[in-house]
C-alpha cells in the first residue's frame, strides 16, 4: 500500500493546487481546507510553507480514538473512513499528534488524507509523491532535494 509524502516540500510556493485538487476530486468540494492536505505558513509568508498531511501511523491513534469505527486502521498506515457512521465528536482530530485532521467548522465533519494520490499530479513543483509505506517489502527512500544535491556533489 502506498502512502502520500511531501518529500520536497521545501520547493512549495503555497499555491494550494494540492488541497484544492483533493477537495475537488476526493470530497467534491471547492475548498482549501476540507482536504487531506493543507498548506500553511506558520510564521507569516516570509518563513515559507509547510504541508499538513497524515503521516500514515500504524497503529493510528485517530482510529483508536474513534468511538464508532468511522475511522479504522488502514493497511500500510493511516485510516479507512466510513463517513456515514461518524458522529462528529472530534475525538480523531484531538488524538492526531500532527494536526492532520481538519474539522470543518460549519458541520464538524472531519477531513483526513486517504492516501489516494490524486493531488500529486497537481503540484507544479513535484513536492508530493506516493511512496511504499516504510517497512513494506519494496519500500524505497523518497528522493529529496537534499539527497539529490549530495549525489551531485559526489559526482565530481
Amino acid at each position: 500500500m502506498k502512502i502520500l509524502r511531501a518529500p520536497r516540500v521545501e520547493r512549495c510556493v503555497g499555491c494550494d493546487s494540492c488541497s484544492l485538487a483533493c477537495a475537488r476530486l476526493v470530497h467534491k468540494r471547492i475548498s482549501w481546507t476540507t482536504a487531506g492536505i493543507r498548506i500553511t505558513s506558520s510564521g507569516g509568508l516570509s518563513t515559507g510553507f509547510e504541508a499538513k498531511i497524515c503521516l500514515a501511523c500504524d497503529p493510528a491513534p485517530c482510529a483508536a480514538a474513534c468511538p464508532t469505527g468511522s475511522y479504522s486502521q488502514r493497511k500500510g498506515g493511516g485510516v479507512r473512513v466510513k463517513p456515514d457512521v461518524c458522529i462528529r465528536c472530534g475525538a480523531c482530530a484531538k488524538a492526531c499528534p500532527v494536526d492532520a485532521i481538519y474539522i470543518e467548522p460549519e458541520t464538524n465533519v472531519p477531513f483526513v488524507c486517504l492516501h489516494c494520490g490524486r493531488c500529486v499530479g497537481f503540484c507544479p513543483h513535484q513536492c508530493l509523491e506516493m511512496i511504499d509505506a516504510p517497512g513494506t517489502a519494496d519500500a524505497a527512500v523518497p528522493v529529496t532535494d537534499a539527497a539529490q544535491e549530495k549525489e551531485a556533489s559526489h559526482a565530481g
Partner: protein, 580 residues
C-alpha cells in the same frame, strides 16, 4: 430565471456594525470589476472628497474565484485621493480565496472608526479591534503584531494592512496584501487611513459544494494542463517579469534616470538575470495559482563592523525594479532591493514613489528645489539618500514631501518642473514604447499599463493609424474587463479566451452568465467610464508632459501630431461609450 444577487458585507466603521445584504444581479454585474463598479455607483458620493468618511472602500471577487487556476485576484474600488476619480486596483495573495471561503462576494467599508482599528471578518466573526498602539508602525511590524492578535480562527486567512503613508493619507499610499502583494496605485491605502483602519483580517474557513458530474473537474484539468504546459510558466515563473529589463533596455524602451534615457550599459548589473543569479531566494504563489510568479529576493545588510548582518526578504517584479531602480539610476541589484524595502515599510506605491523621487532628483539637479525641500541630498544611484527620502515621503515631514505625496505633478506645478514630470494620468509605468502606450496610460480608466495592451501594440505596429490603434485599445479593454470580473490574473489572458471562460462558467452551472459574458463586459466597461466621468474626468484635457517628446523611445521620437490624433479619437470613443 430570477436574478441571483451577490452577498455583500456592508461594514459601517463609525457605528462598529456590519450587515450582509443582497445586491445586484450576477448575470449583469458578473463580479470583480463589474460588481465593484456597480457598488461604487450605488454607494459613492461622486461630489464628496475621496477621503470623506462616507465614501466606500470596496473589495470584490468574482464567480470563478477559487474555482480555476489563476482565478486569484481581488478588485479594490474607491474614489482616489490622487485624482478624485473612480479608481480600481487589483491584488493577489490569499485575499480572493479568503473572501470566497468567508462567503463574501464583496466587502464594502464605510465610515470612520473612532479609534485606530483592525477589522476581522469570517464565517463566524465580525470584530472591530482597537489597535491604537499600532499607530505609526511600519507594514512589517504591523504584520507581526497582527499575527499575535489573531491566532484563532479556522481555515486560512488573508491580512491587509497599511503603513505610515496610509495613516498620513499620502495620495498614493498602498494597501499591503499578505506581505508580498499590494493594492498599489491611486491611494487605496490613504482611504483606509482616512477610515482610521489599520488592518483587515479575513478568515476563509468555508467549503462550498463542487458542481456534480465530471464536467467541472475535466474543464479544470484542461485549463491546469494548459497553464503548466504553456510558455506561461516559463515567462512568469522562471525569471518572471524582470526578464523585461534586458529586453526593453535593448529596445530603447526602459526608462532610466527620470526618463532622461531609455538605454544604459549598467543594465548588466540590474537585469532579471542578475537578480535571479545573485539575490533570488525563493518563489511564492497567490492562492490558487500554480504559476508562482512572486520572486522574493534576499537583502543582506551589514549593520555593524564585526560581520554583523541582518537579512530581509523583498519581493520584486519588473515594475518596481524599473520605478525604484533604473528610474532612480541605481546600478546595483541589492541597492534596488534596499530602496524597495523602505518603500514596503512605509506603505507607499512602489511605482508612484519611485517615479516621484526620480522627478525630485532631476529637480534638485536643475536647482528647482534645494536641501530646504529635500532634507537629504538626492542624487541618482544614491541608495542611502533615497531610503531616507522614502521615510520623509511616508511621514510627510515638510511641505515639499507633503506636496510630493499628493502626486509628482502637484509638486511639479509648485516648483515649476512640469516638463520633466513623468506623469501619464499617474506616475508612468515602465514602458517607453511609443505614442500608443503613452496615450493608453494617460487616458486609461485606471491609468495602468494593464488597462489595455498599448505597450505591445506599439511594438507590433509602426504605422500611425489612430483609429486602428484606439479601436484596438477599446476592444482589448472589454476583453480584460471580462477577465477582471471573474476575477482572473491578467497573466492568464492567453489561456482564458472568451470560449474557455464560457466553458469554465458553464461547468460551474453558470451558463446564463456564460451566454451574457460579452454583453455584460461591454456594459461594465461603460459603467467604469461613467463612474470616472461622473467624478469629473475630462479626457480632452489630458496632457502628455514634454519629457515624453524629448526622449528616444522604441519607435524613435514621439510624434506630437499622432499623439494629438490618438487623444482626440480616444476621447470621442470614451464620450460615445458613456452616452450610448
Amino acid at each position: 430565471m430570477p436574478a441571483e444577487p451577490f452577498r455583500v458585507l456592508m461594514v459601517d466603521l463609525t457605528r462598529g456594525r456590519g450587515e450582509y445584504i443582497n445586491f445586484g444581479d450576477k448575470n449583469e454585474h458578473l463580479g470583480g470589476s463589474g460588481l465593484a463598479a456597480a457598488l461604487f455607483a450605488a454607494y459613492a458620493d461622486v461630489s464628496a472628497p475621496a477621503l470623506a468618511p462616507e465614501q466606500p472602500l470596496i473589495f470584490a471577487i468574482g464567480p470563478l474565484t477559487g474555482c480555476y487556476p489563476l482565478m486569484s485576484k481581488t478588485v479594490c474600488a474607491f474614489k482616489s485621493p490622487y485624482n478624485e476619480q473612480y479608481a480600481e486596483s487589483h491584488a493577489g495573495g490569499r485575499l480572493a480565496l479568503s473572501l470566497r471561503f468567508a462567503g463574501i462576494d464583496a466587502l464594502v467599508i464605510r465610515g470612520r472608526s473612532p479609534v485606530l482599528s483592525a477589522l476581522a471578518v469570517g464565517i463566524r466573526r465580525l470584530d472591530f479591534v482597537d489597535v491604537h498602539f499600532l499607530r505609526g508602525f511600519d507594514v512589517f511590524t504591523t504584520g507581526k503584531q497582527l499575527r499575535k492578535l489573531h491566532r484563532s480562527g479556522a481555515g486560512h486567512r488573508s491580512t491587509l494592512r497599511i503603513g505610515p503613508a496610509g495613516e498620513n493619507q499620502v495620495a498614493y499610499a498602498c494597501i499591503n496584501v499578505d506581505t508580498y502583494r499590494h493594492f498599489g496605485r491611486l491611494g487605496s491605502g490613504a482611504v483606509m487611513g482616512a477610515k482610521n483602519l489599520k488592518a483587515i483580517v479575513i478568515d476563509g474557513g468555508k467549503s462550498l459544494p463542487a458542481p456534480a458530474g465530471k464536467d467541472y473537474p475535466d474543464v479544470f484539468k484542461a485549463i491546469y494542463d494548459q497553464v503548466v504546459d504553456s510558455g506561461m510558466m516559463k515567462k512568469y515563473h522562471d525569471l518572471g517579469t524582470p526578464e523585461n529589463l534586458l529586453a526593453l533596455n535593448e529596445l530603447s524602451a526602459l526608462p532610466w534616470k527620470n526618463l532622461q534615457s531609455t538605454k544604459e550599459a549598467a543594465i548588466e548589473n540590474v537585469s532579471g538575470e542578475a537578480f535571479a543569479r545573485d539575490l533570488l531566494l525563493r518563489k511564492a504563489a497567490c492562492a490558487g495559482c500554480p504559476v508562482g510568479c512572486i520572486h522574493v529576493g534576499l537583502l543582506r545588510e551589514k549593520y555593524a563592523a564585526n560581520n554583523d548582518y541582518l537579512y530581509r526578504q523583498v519581493s520584486y517584479d519588473y515594475e518596481p525594479l524599473f520605478a525604484d531602480g533604473t528610474m532612480l539610476g541605481i546600478t546595483s541589484a541589492s541597492g534596488i532591493l534596499a530602496v524597495m524595502d523602505e518603500i514596503e515599510r512605509q506603505g507607499v506605491d512602489c511605482m508612484s514613489a519611485g517615479v516621484a523621487l526620480a522627478w525630485a532628483t532631476e529637480a534638485a539637479q536643475k536647482g528647482a528645489i534645494g536641501l530646504a525641500e529635500t532634507i537629504v541630498p538626492l542624487a541618482f544611484d544614491d541608495v542611502a539618500g533615497y531610503r531616507e527620502a522614502v521615510r520623509h515621503l511616508g511621514n510627510r515631514t515638510n511641505e515639499f514631501y507633503r506636496l510630493l505625496g499628493q502626486g509628482t505633478m502637484v509638486a511639479a506645478a509648485q516648483y515649476k518642473g512640469e516638463d520633466y514630470a513623468c506623469v501619464l494620468g499617474q506616475e508612468m509605468s515602465g514602458y517607453a514604447t511609443g505614442e500608443v502606450f503613452y496615450i493608453s496610460q494617460a487616458m486609461g480608466v485606471r491609468h495602468s499599463h494593464l488597462d489595455s495592451g498599448g505597450y505591445s501594440y506599439d511594438q507590433k505596429h509602426t504605422d500611425k493609424d489612430a483609429v486602428k490603434a484606439i479601436d484596438f485599445l477599446v476592444a482589448d479593454e472589454a476583453d480584460r474587463v471580462a477577465l477582471t470580473s471573474m476575477v482572473s490574473c491578467l497573466f492568464a489572458r492567453n489561456v482564458y479566451t472568451p470560449e474557455t471562460l464560457g466553458r469554465a462558467l458553464s461547468a460551474m452551472g453558470l451558463s446564463g452568465m456564460a451566454e451574457n459574458l460579452g454583453k455584460a463586459a461591454r456594459n461594465i466597461q461603460k459603467l467604469r467610464w461613467k463612474n470616472k466621468i461622473d467624478c469629473g474626468f475630462k479626457p480632452r484635457e489630458v496632457k502628455i508632459p514634454k519629457r515624453f517628446y524629448e526622449v528616444t523611445n522604441w519607435k524613435g521620437q514621439a510624434d506630437p501630431a499622432y499623439l494629438e490624433e490618438l487623444k482626440t479619437y480616444y476621447a470621442s470613443r470614451i464620450e460615445a461609450l458613456v452616452s450610448a
